[in-house]
Amino acid sequence: MGRIGRRGFLGLTGAGLGSVASAAAARGALAAGPHPGDPGAGNHHWVMVIDLARCDGCGDCTEACSAMHLVPAGQEWIKVYPAHERGSGPGAFFPRPCMQCDNPPCVNVCPVGASYKRGDGIVLIDQDLCIGCRFCMAACPYAARYFNWSEPAHTAQELAQPYSVETNLPHRRGVVEKCLFCPAMTRQGQLPACVSACEMGALFFGDEHDDAVTNSLGETYRFSELVQRGAGHRHLEDLGTEPRVWYLPPRDPSTAPPDYG
């Protein structure tokens, strides 16, 4: 071992740090590639409005979602909670899709960037990257994420699909899944499965850039006005998650303002 000397030592350290930095840069370049099946955001900014006065707890939204995405058993990507203190009637049910938060705690804590926020507001999960640590599930305050604890049951049709980050098909064991606002549907100008299945027209969906939301009954309202006049709020807003799903409070139907049925 030759005599290195102080200068040599500092040089070694500098070289070490430099190589770490360049490795980090290379790693960064590697990781910046697109996720499979993600053609990009398009110029949209999706938002959902749920009218709690109209929801009657029928569960058609959950059924349609589960059918469309072949959702594994035990998972409800849009889950309708009963609000027991209201018994029945307006406000007795609370549908909870993924809120696609603008300050998403799930994305913040993901160690590998498998959960990521797209420019159109949707939080997607790249299941080629997910390591199954479930930190995102611990971080989500809305209990919107589900984990494939075992190998989900498959159909031949499902397995034939090429993997796309917009569909999460085919489903895999050991990764996390959730509601994605049906990006494959909205890309074609259609409403998400839950929205079109809602009998009562309680679920509205639209592009904030259009400032318009539409429901299954073809009713279209100006989003900003609907939320303002309808005293729309977001669930657990003070947590700072900035959800993209707004709720219109339950109101007595006999006093319904004529604007929105």
């Binding site: 160690p111 390591i131 199954g132 479930r134 930190f135 611990a138 209990a143 050991g174």
Partner: protein, 515 residues
């Protein structure tokens, strides 16, 4: 010291030319008896069973555990935090005691640093076991996001493991040189190991100076690293919004708990090695007395943090935290919670102080016979419970009358029993300290469980129509097996370390006056 007979046994022929001091400490390295085989074999068997359980998990997915969507972290993360916690002992003893010039630390620094090393190994393993896709673990390096607390964990644990390995090795060098020189008839691989790892040590003054510089640098560095490690581990929880975790004091709270459980674990190691390797001359009452004082301080600091965390939240009973707090204080988790607080923290503090309370001696005159008193106390307590006038108010305070009754009975019996045992323990400070340390270590594991699991059972969105099996966590045999396996693996690594290298530093204890 010289009573240490070198048994002719399988393994290594004895070396020659050892001073009595060296012989006492190097003895376990030279021997390998039937007892050692038995112990190593038993530990290896349990560890192997843990590995088998993991293969079951790899085949069936995490569905073989008790975790589900509501409680998505369980025993594995509990073990993770527990192991990283006890790994702080190395920083505590080698670093803090060295910087404060506590000369009595020499016999126990190495066993503490070895605990750190082994605990970090198994602590770092636990999150990998918990992954749904362990084959993608390397993505953490390629795709790691620096904003994620898990990445901070990865970086800091890797840093701490490297640092503690270096710190373990440095003071080992002179002893390795001793082994290299003296164990001339050891198998080749061992001789090569000692030769390589002793780095040409000859005891020359220039070498001593270099070693001293290196050790000084590491002892200053290792303490902030240890604090950083457990702080970022606590931030796995504290950087989320969940009620019960959304607290600002988690960093120091966890570090305090880690130091206490680490100190307790080294006390248990002291007891084990003192008895097993017959090191009474090196690890004496003075060491236990000092460790007891240190453990007491750390225990009380942890009690203070527990109080800060629970008293402030209980005073406010904020709606989102209310259900969780009620479950911990008076609900289904209450027995476990109060066990960790009272039996796990308060009673050890009492036991640690006990040898200094002279008044306890008077209890001996009362001639309380422990064997009689236990059952008598239980009977009295049960009778009290039967009387409605007394049991009703108790039942009103606790959620379930049965638990209330049993708690009263248990507490009463325990108190009376303890009173009878106090003089006995007062006279045996080492036993007292050892029991306290054992309770603190058990408390540490249970407390981590209490921090991790109940919070999941009380999320923001209610579980109205969720089946019980989804909300409430019951660990399966796979998780218990892996936990036991990890513990056995840890003990095995530690035990083998103590057989490969002298667990008490030979050169540092050669001159007892050195500080």
């Amino acid at each position: 010291m010289t009573a240490l007979a070198l048994e002719p046994s399988r393994g290594l022929p004895p070396a020659v030319d050892l001073t009595p001091h060296e012989r006492a400490l190097v003895g376990p390295v030279l021997r390998w008896g039937r007892g050692a085989t038995l112990l190593a074999g038993a530990l290896a068997a349990v560890a192997a069973f843990g590995v088998y359980a993991y293969t079951v998990q790899l085949r069936g997915g995490l569905a073989v555990t008790g975790m589900r969507d509501t409680v998505s972290w369980g025993l594995y993360i509990t073990n993770f935090v527990f192991f990283i916690g006890i790994s702080h002992v190395g920083a505590l003893l080698s670093s803090i005691l060295r910087l404060t010039g506590a000369g009595w630390r020499h016999p126990i620094t190495r066993m503490a640093e070895a605990i750190t090393f082994a605990a970090l190994l198994f602590g770092a393993l636990m999150p990998i076991v918990d992954l749904g896709r362990p084959e993608r673990a390397l993505s953490l390096l390629v795709h790691g996001r620096l904003q994620s607390p898990i990445l901070w964990d990865l970086i800091s644990i890797a840093t701490y493991l490297t640092g503690s390995t270096i710190f373990l090795l440095l003071p080992l060098i002179p002893d390795l040189a001793l082994l290299r020189d003296k164990m001339t008839r050891a198998p080749r691989w061992r001789r090569a190991l000692y030769r390589v790892l002793s780095f040409g040590w000859r005891g020359a003054p220039g070498q001593r100076a270099r070693l001293e510089r290196a050790v000084s640098a590491m002892s200053v560095l290792i303490l902030p690293i240890a604090v950083m490690v457990h702080t970022v581990v606590s931030w796995i929880f504290a950087m989320t919004l969940r009620p019960g975790w959304n607290s600002t004091i988690f960093g120091p709270y966890f570090v305090a708990g880690a130091l206490a459980s680490g100190a307790a674990s080294v006390v248990l190691a002291m007891v084990a090695f003192r008895r097993g390797y017959r090191l009474e001359a090196y690890i004496g009452e003075r060491h236990f007395r000092n460790m007891a004082a240190l453990l007491l301080v750390l225990d009380l600091v942890y009690v203070y943090f527990n109080l800060s965390e629970y008293a402030t939240t209980a005073y406010k009973m904020q709606l989102t935290e209310k259900a969780l707090l009620l479950e911990l204080f008076v609900g289904s988790m209450a027995p476990l919670f109060w066990f960790t607080q009272v039996v796990g923290l308060i009673i050890p503090a009492v036991l640690l102080v006990l040898p200094h309370i002279r008044a306890v001696r008077h209890l001996r005159r009362a001639r309380l016979n422990p064997r009689l008193l236990g059952p008598l106390a239980m009977a009295i307590a049960l009778a009290l419970v039967m009387i409605p006038r007394i049991s009703a108010p108790v039942a009103a305070v606790t959620a379930t009358p049965l638990w209330g009754a049993l708690s009263v009975a248990g507490l009463g019996a325990g108190l009376l029993f303890a009173l009878s045992v106090l003089p006995f323990l007062h006279d045996r400070p080492i036993t007292s300290t050892a029991i306290a340390a054992g309770l603190i270590v058990v408390q540490a594991w249970l407390k981590r469980y209490i921090i991790v699991v109940p919070v999941f059972e009380h999320p923001f969105l209610p579980l109205h129509d969720a089946a019980n099996s989804v909300g409430f966590y019951r660990p399966t045999w796979v998780e218990w097996a892996i936990t036991a396996g990890a513990l056995a693996g840890f003990l095995l690594v530690y035990f083998l370390f103590s057989r490969l290298f002298p667990i008490v530093s030979v050169w540092e204890t050669a001159h007892p006056a050195e500080g």
